[in-house]
């Protein structure tokens, strides 16, 4: 195997892995704050990417403004989702599986709406830092990919600090661990759930903005991202935001290296088979026992 080709595959794997990690991180954020498995996390990215595209291509505003708009759009959709659908559903005292169905239904609805109003055409955003590449030995890495890794890492670190060091982050954790215990010490539990969806939406929107220069914005993009993000989150440990990073990068690398040995058409088969094997060996995720318990 050619060394440059291997290095190139590793770079692609890490870049894709950080995209999966961001989506997985959003899933973990929502799950951590609400114990709901959000099957529409990828749709936050779809909306974020589309809004950023409209702002930069249709309105002609700077990429920075478009990026912020895309991130905020993801947050708005997340908050609205909790406020308009999850909260009324919860009042009816439904089981956990109902939320999975609810978010999956909304994911399909958003995907269908994009298909209906915008069509099958694919779109993409310009990359942050332009379209140029840097060379690592003989392997090329796009400037945007470097930005993606740096920004994703910064967001993950900030989220870690947010949950560990801020009162609001701890309150969100407390509300999800014990709803009644939280309410009796003055924590507004419904508000904390809304904030978890808002935060998940912001992370999803950011993922959409960062992924759109690499893969085209497409009406089915959300569901695909959700699947990969979910695999990343489960692989790393659903309650541990850092777990999504480990899971995402692992998944990205497996996919990318699989392409070297088998046809690219089989990369998902190889990746998912390996994931199943890892989950059998490490049922609590790569980060182990504590990751399922959170904290």
């Amino acid at each position: 195997m050619n060394g440059t080709l291997l290095l190139q595959s590793v770079i692609v794997g890490i870049t894709n892995g950080f995209v999966y990690a961001l989506v997985g991180l959003g899933i973990a954020v929502v799950f951590r704050g609400t114990r709901i498995i959000n099957a529409m996390q990828g749709e936050f990215s779809l909306v974020g990417g589309l809004v950023a595209f409209v702002v930069v291509e249709q309105l002609g505003w700077p990429l920075g403004v478009a990026a912020v708009s895309g991130v905020l759009a993801g947050g708005v959709v997340g908050f609205a989702m909790e406020w308009l659908l999850v909260r009324p559903t919860r009042r009816r005292g439904v089981g956990e599986e109902s939320y999975l169905l609810l978010t999956l239904g909304v994911a399909f609805a958003i995907s269908a709406a994009v298909l209906y109003f915008i069509g099958r055409d694919t779109r993409s955003l310009p990359g942050i830092g332009g379209e140029g590449s840097a060379l690592v030995f003989d392997a090329a890495i796009r400037h945007h990919a470097i930005w993606l890794v740096v920004l994703s890492s910064a967001v993950m670190l900030l989220l870690r600090l947010f949950y560990d060091r801020t009162r609001i982050g701890l309150s969100m954790m407390a509300a999800s661990i014990d709803e009644e215990g939280a309410a009796t010490i003055g924590i507004n539990v419904p508000l904390m759930r809304s904030l978890s969806f808002l935060l998940g939406g912001l992370v999803g929107g950011l993922a959409g903005v960062l992924v759109s220069p690499l893969v085209t914005i497409h009406y089915e993009m959300g569901l695909l991202l959700t699947l990969k993000g979910f695999a990343a989150a489960i692989l790393g440990g659903l309650l541990n935001p850092f777990g999504a990073v480990v899971g995402g990068v692992t998944l990205g690398l497996i996919e990318s290296l699989a392409v070297l040995s088998v046809s690219s058409g089989y990369k998902d088969v190889v990746a998912m088979t390996l994931l199943i094997v890892i989950m059998i060996i490490l049922p609590n995720g790569i980060l182990g026992r504590g990751s399922r318990k959170g904290g």
């Binding site: 009162r167 014990d178 009644e180 309410a183 010490i185 003055g186 924590i187 507004n188 539990v189 318990k293």
Partner: protein
């Protein structure tokens, strides 16, 4: 201070509390005793807002609070330690206490303010366990964390639901000692307890509950001699 007037509440349309009325005055410790299934914990949940009322009123210092959600009732000087404690097991002791303290600093109504050092003085083991995850503590230690957390809400009325359940006699003595300290500091207490001997040590008077209603009210004199009242103990507590 706290007046519960003719409240009715239950689960899934089935009534548990029936026209229940009781009152707790400032600087008073009142026990609520009754057999299993009498509705004591249901009453606690109704008072702290975890169970909606079908009828009746709850007044704290003359203000109706029965329509307020649970998290807002703590702003009216009520703190509760539920039977199952409801701590945040995955968080540290410090996190559990600081979350309550943050709320208490903003909304607490107590004259006497509790700080972290005060609850550590009350329960000295906390000093060395502040950075331990709550789920790693023993049951007795968790109960003390739950009481400390409630105190940091700066309440005027502390409600404890079966604080001695499942704990060793040594830990129970420690908790009774802490309650005595709180009483001497003027804290009002509603103590829900099946262990009458224990409740007598803390409370000034008592209500007896059965089938979701108050069936007897024991004034200070009757309460102090309750352990000799075999008829009452047999009739309402089965002991």
């Amino acid at each position: 201070m706290l007046r519960v007037e003719g409240i009715e509440a239950g689960y899934g349309g089935l009534p548990v509390l029936k026209e229940l009325t009781l009152a707790i005055e400032r600087n008073e410790a009142v026990a609520l005793i009754g057999a299993n299934g009498a509705g004591k914990s249901t009453l606690v949940r109704a008072i702290c807002g975890l169970l909606p009322l079908a009828a009746g009123r709850i007044l704290q210092d003359g203000r109706e609070i029965q329509r307020l959600p649970a998290h807002e009732r703590t702003r009216h000087g009520i703190a509760v330690v539920l039977e199952a404690r409801h701590l945040f097991g995955e968080l540290t002791v410090r996190n559990n206490l600081e979350l309550a303290a943050a709320h208490g600093e903003r909304h607490g109504t107590a004259q006497r303010k509790f700080h972290l050092d005060d609850v550590i003085e009350l329960f000295p083991f906390l000093r060395t366990r502040l950075d331990a995850a709550v789920q790693l503590l023993s049951g007795g230690e968790q109960q003390m964390v739950a009481i400390a957390r409630a105190l940091l809400l700066q309440p005027e009325l502390l409600i404890l639901d079966e604080p001695s359940t499942g704990l060793s006699p040594k830990v129970v003595r420690e908790i009774v000692g802490a309650l005595a300290t709180l009483r001497s500091g003027g804290m009002s207490i509603l103590l829900v307890e099946q262990n009458v001997a224990l409740a007598v040590e803390t409370a000034d008077r008592a209500y007896v509950m059965a089938l979701g209603a108050i069936v007897r009210e024991l004034d200070a004199a009757a309460w102090k001699s309750v352990l000799g009242d075999e008829t009452l103990l047999q009739a309402y507590l089965g002991s």
